[in-house]
Amino acid sequence: MTEENAWVVRAQQGDDDAFTQLVETYQKPVYNLCYRMLGEPDTAEDAAQETFMRAYQNLHRYDSSRAFGTWILSIAAHYCIDRLRKKKFSVFSMDAEDEDGMPFEVADPASPDPEAESVKLEDRKRLNLLLKDLDPTDRAAVIMRYWYDYSEIEIAKSLNLTVSAVKSRLHRSRKALAGMWQAEKSRAHPERRSRESLAF
């Protein structure tokens, strides 16, 4: 039995300290998922806290044949999807992230090429903003694929979808992101448009 499984068993028996260990271990992945889904640090914090609370309340239903990480991320994803469907966010202030992934990224002045670094940073920030235009379930699939390296099977299990539905959602989202990115770049650099080929 791994240390994590031992914490889960102890937590299921009512040991709050063991559950605290699980919170300590999974706070970053859960928070990141909520942040990428919801786009605001405060809302993401609240969603991550709520995710752990739901996990605590439903710990007796946890199927130990699955990884705890997958289970809790699944709870977080479903919670964020529900939240997004219930409330349309008028503000989506994805501020990008710093070295530790904290949501207040700034370009590193000590970098060999701070200007290029700053451009990369801006690009990542803009891409994160584009995520908000995806359907919540598509967004969750993209986040699980690229931030957590989940396979299509794992995403399907986590989001209660079929593998083919996950594939199709990932393709659709990637195409949509590319289209939006292209449009965004054309807006930002209109002079380049004449030299580039049409996408479709």
Partner: protein
């Protein structure tokens, strides 16, 4: 512009040979859409994890403690309201009888004794009847009928137990 097979390579994150990579690079220079697809994939793949502000676990512990207090309070109020509602219903149901019992206890005592006697005699009669049935019926029923009957009861019992076990053991649905 024809994006095949480059779009497929990019969308499926397929590994490419050096020759294919060369063709892809050439295509990316002329195709804005595939170039955007490639760029977004690279950026998604290199994005970092966002971390919560420090003290997340402590904040969770506070939230959990508050939740437990609220839960205890909710249970206490629930129990108080449930008991009160039960008492009110009970009073509403037995109030008239209680009033008449208090008004004339002799009538109620005689009625109660009458009911007790009736209950006792009925139980005795049923007991006698069952003794008679159990002494007569086995003579008419062959042993295999008893076997079938007991097997049926055992089967139904087993089915019932298994259903309850499966119902309680079923895992938590995803995304509670």
């Amino acid at each position: 512009m024809n994006h095949l097979p480059f779009e497929e390579w990019l969308l499926n994150d397929m590994p490419v040979t050096p020759e294919q990579q060369r063709d892809l690079d050439l295509h990316l220079r002329t195709c804005a859409y595939c170039s955007a697809l490639s760029e977004t994939t690279r950026m998604l793949s290199t994005s970092k994890m966002a971390a919560p502000a420090s003290g997340f676990t402590a904040r969770f512990q506070m939230r959990l403690a508050e939740h437990k207090v609220a839960e205890r309070r909710r249970k206490l109020w629930g129990a108080i309201l449930f008991t009160l509602a039960g008492l009110i219903l009970l009073m509403w149901a037995i109030g008239p009888y209680l009033a008449s019992f208090i008004a004339s206890p002799a009538t109620w005592i005689s009625t109660g004794v009458g009911w007790l006697i009736f209950l006792g005699t009925t139980l005795f009669a049923l007991f006698d009847a069952s003794i008679v049935i159990f002494s007569i019926v086995p003579k008419f029923l062959p042993p295999f009928v008893w076997l079938v009957l007991f097997s049926m009861f055992a089967g139904v019992g087993l089915l019932w137990s298994v259903s309850i076990w499966r119902f309680t053991q079923r895992g938590m649905p995803q995304g509670v």
